[in-house]
Symmetry: C2
Subunit: 220 residues, 2 copies
Amino acid sequence: MRAVPSSPDTLLEGHRPGRVPRAVRSEQLLGVADRLFAERSFHGASMDELARRAGVSKPVIYDHFGSKEQLFATCVRRTGEALAEQVRTAVRKESEPRARLRAGSIAYFRFLAEQMQAWAVLFDAQEGGDARFAAEAARIRHRQSELMIDLMAESAGTEAGHEGRAMLEAMTLAIAGAYESLSLWWREHPEVPPEQLADWILDLLWPGLEGLMTQLAASR
Amino acid sequence: MRAVPSSPDTLLEGHRPGRVPRAVRSEQLLGVADRLFAERSFHGASMDELARRAGVSKPVIYDHFGSKEQLFATCVRRTGEALAEQVRTAVRKESEPRARLRAGSIAYFRFLAEQMQAWAVLFDAQEGGDARFAAEAARIRHRQSELMIDLMAESAGTEAGHEGRAMLEAMTLAIAGAYESLSLWWREHPEVPPEQLADWILDLLWPGLEGLMTQLAASR
DNA sequence: CACGGTAACCTACCATAAGTAGCCTACTGA
DNA sequence: TCAGTAGGCTACTTATGGTAGGTTACCGTG
């Protein structure tokens, strides 16, 4: 075999076929992996296919990412960060707590709608099955909700002490879980607009959230 | 080889070693599988080890359950049903909506506390990784929350129509997701008592929930 | 302008674990 | 007594994550 390294999946400018600088290769591999995981989900994606699609041999991938799980974790983390960034930006455009939460929620669902692909990577992970990225998934969820709460608190000036700390963390995660599940439901009902989803979940969460915040502010 | 089938994991009365009626073997296998999945999580558990522990050969397991995933799904479903039963019973002991939700929540967390093992089976699934039991997990989550809402509605006499239907379903799932995430958090903070968890999440969800219910009742 | 060192890659292989084909054997009822 | 069958077993195949060890293009230096 070993014919001309026939144009791989993604054409990188410059470095014709083979031989590409490490950073570039990494990026390319992550891109291909993102797509692959998105369409086949973690378990269904094989490293052999990934290698084939990337026009590269398996050891190259292992040299870059160590293991399938690490590669997956990296993909998830990147997507999670992009999502967080979107939300953060949207939230910062508003000043009133409820408006901020609403804006953040809409941004969140919009991101999912645009990046169904990335979305799949993010959530099939937890659904998907192995308990292996629990850590990664949890971290994302954690950061996501912490972000929203923090951003809300920005305007409320709350900073809970002792006991309230645990509660805040727990509630934060619970909320993130609610968003996650709702996102899953949305997959089967894509006709519902993001704003609608946001309004629903705000109606559900906001009253209690407001109560918790004033309660925290009082006991500080 | 083929020595005396040396006492397997679980001694079944009657049928000494080998040869056991189908139903009994099924039950025994499910028991061993429950424990195995609980300690090793789906991916980490191998069918070879399961067979070894059960004192049986692999094809027997496949004859009973078809595949590792089906076996796992069965375990999850059973546990989910047990959980639902606990919750249902607890909820029925109260009559006021809020009290019912609280009782259900406490029962939910108590179940998890007592059955950490079963719990692991239920939730590592989603975390765990493969997107393969998504269906099963979703179904459980769905039923779980539907149950709680239905039981609450029992006393409120609400039965939404058209549009509200979708919202109710979505919110129902969101709530289940919140409980799930909270349960995950609880694993790292077992010192918090179930009642405390219940109160926290009630403070978070109840106000909005009440609002949604009256809103539905009005638009009916 | 050789030329040694290293970064980027590859071929071939191993190990594990899911799942299967085909045979054997203890019990049951006629 | 003796089929017929439910309950089991051994021994394989296949798929796939992961690795050992060698090969070639590139680049800075004497």
